[in-house]
């Protein structure tokens, strides 16, 4: 657990949690990590998390305890993502993700009395759950704002072990292109590039496999899919389709280029 690496601007006051939830989390002895967009915002201070939603990583064996602990007026615990209408009907919807491990917990960052998923782990969580462009942009924003604190060796190891070397390596190169080389170390990208290539399926041929790509594929017009970063595509034997505006906006908003 570290506290010293957390920038001074990060305080629990900056998060959008109701005070009673902060008090509950601060008081519990049950291990948890705040993850998802609320955690991401603590690190990047860029994209506001959606209102009324909190994601917690908890031990699988403690799910029942958490559901009980969170049963109160206006608050409901979910073990799978709630519907938007559910979120709007509550003061707070808490999504319990039972993938907390002792190793992840040991790496937590304390902000005030709250436990947050470490930025390296959170970046991988965001990339793993990414289904559009937002999570990728948030991962980039964390890497840019926290680049001096990131444990790049650990991040590379975990990315390789979890099969995320390529998306993370591509993102690293894009950040170097859009924001500057000082935000992601050269050795980090080189190391990820050495991981064996995946078999070529649509899932691995295009990154990300977004609606624009699917739209063209469904119409049998793959020639209309243009790489947004041709040289980075060549490095990774993949067609990078992340629109340039996605990371460019992060960079412009964070004023780092």
């Amino acid at each position: 657990m570290t506290q010293e690496n957390v920038p001074p601007a990060m305080s629990p006051a900056g998060c959008a949690l109701p005070p009673e939830m902060i008090a509950l989390l601060a008081a519990t002895s049950e291990p948890y990590l705040i993850t998802g967009t609320v955690a991401a915002f603590q690190y990047h201070r860029w994209l506001s998390p959606p209102p009324g939603l909190l994601a917690l990583k908890v031990h699988a064996s403690a799910l029942g305890d958490w559901e009980q602990m969170l049963a109160r007026d206006g608050v409901r615990a979910f073990t799978s993502p709630p519907s938007q209408r559910d979120v709007e009907a509550l003061d707070l919807a808490v999504v319990l993700d039972p993938t907390l491990t002792p190793a992840l917990y040991a790496r937590r960052r304390m902000v005030g009395s709250l436990s947050y998923e470490a930025p390296e782990d959170l970046v991988l969580t965001l990339l793993a759950r990414s289904r559009g462009e937002t999570s990728i942009a948030e991962a980039a924003a964390i890497l840019i704002t926290q680049h001096e604190q990131i444990d790049w060796d650990y991040l590379a190891e975990r990315a390789i072990a979890s099969g995320q070397a390529r998306p993370l390596g591509i993102l690293g190169e894009i950040i170097r292109r859009e924001a500057g080389t000082r935000y992601v170390p050269t050795e980090f990208v080189t190391r990820l590039r050495r991981t064996p290539a995946f078999p070529a399926t649509d899932e691995t041929r295009y990154y990300p496999l977004n609606w624009r790509v699917k739209y063209a594929l469904r119409r049998n017009r793959p020639e209309r899919i243009r790489s947004t970063y041709p040289d980075i595509s060549a490095h990774w034997n993949v067609t990078v389709t992340l629109p340039r505006h996605v990371i460019a906006k992060v960079v412009a908003d964070l004023r780092v280029a």
Partner: protein, 235 residues
């Protein structure tokens, strides 16, 4: 941070009102003005005509903003209580960087809307203008906002007829029509759910998805019929 942004926005709008400078709030806060914003946003976007830009620039400089010209817009920044406040200002046209689709301000008059959750009325585009500018960009945030406009009650309802008129006045009938078809694809293919989950962390309700799809298809049909009628009347 949001409080600071809102304070700045109020002050700028008020200063513009006093100087008689018509300024439009666009982007997320215009969606919010109509009561459709389901997400939070720290982006402040304004639009102004080139004729009124010097007066707005003066207002901004007077409040300590530093103005920087970007390719398709102007960025004004200022630090307030340790937080960076950044305004992106479109001049004459709201242009999407990727597609170069461009919505001209000349087809809009300032509409002042009092949102239920904002303490002051906001000068914005018509709801149809907001819808078109979001549709032309069609990024993840825009998809979320468009689906909210199509499925939620809001301050007022989208008028299909007005939407066609605005698109026609802007000379964007084909662009809007094509973007509506893309939105239909996003909804049919399940990508809307993916985008929604990625941005909102929640699942898009099946009912909302069906309602949105029905409305999008109605709009596509309306645009097809209107295009045929326009062609016939021109002959």
């Amino acid at each position: 941070m949001e409080e600071i942004l809102l304070r700045e926005l109020v002050a700028i709008i008020e200063a513009c009102r006093q100087c008689g400078v018509p300024v439009y709030v666009i982007g997320a806060y215009s969606v919010r003005a109509y009561g459709y914003l389901l997400r939070h946003s720290l982006d402040l976007d304004l639009a102004v005509t080139s004729q009124d830009w010097p007066a707005l620039a003066e207002v901004l400089r007077g409040r300590g903003f530093v103005i920087e010209q970007r390719p398709l817009w102007v960025r004004a920044t200022r630090t307030v209580e340790g937080h960076l406040v950044a305004l992106d200002i479109a001049i004459d046209r709201v242009t999407d960087l990727d597609t170069a689709y461009s919505y001209p301000l000349r087809v809009e008059e300032v509409v002042t809307v009092q949102s239920p959750d904002l303490p002051f009325p906001m000068p914005v585009f018509s709801l149809e203008g907001v819808f078109i500018s979001k549709l032309l960009a069609l990024r993840d945030n825009d998809v979320v906002d468009l689906l909210a406009i199509l499925t939620r009650p809001g301050v007022r309802k989208l008028s299909p007829g007005e939407l066609w008129l605005k698109a026609q006045q802007a000379g964007l009938e084909d662009a809007v029509s094509s973007r509506l078809e893309e939105l239909e694809t996003i909804l049919v293919s399940g990508e809307a759910e993916a985008i929604w989950f990625d941005r909102m962390g929640s699942l898009l309700d099946d009912t909302d998805c069906r309602v949105a799809l029905t409305r999008v298809r109605e709009l596509i049909q309306l645009f097809e019929n209107a295009a045929v009628n326009t062609e016939a009347s021109e002959r």
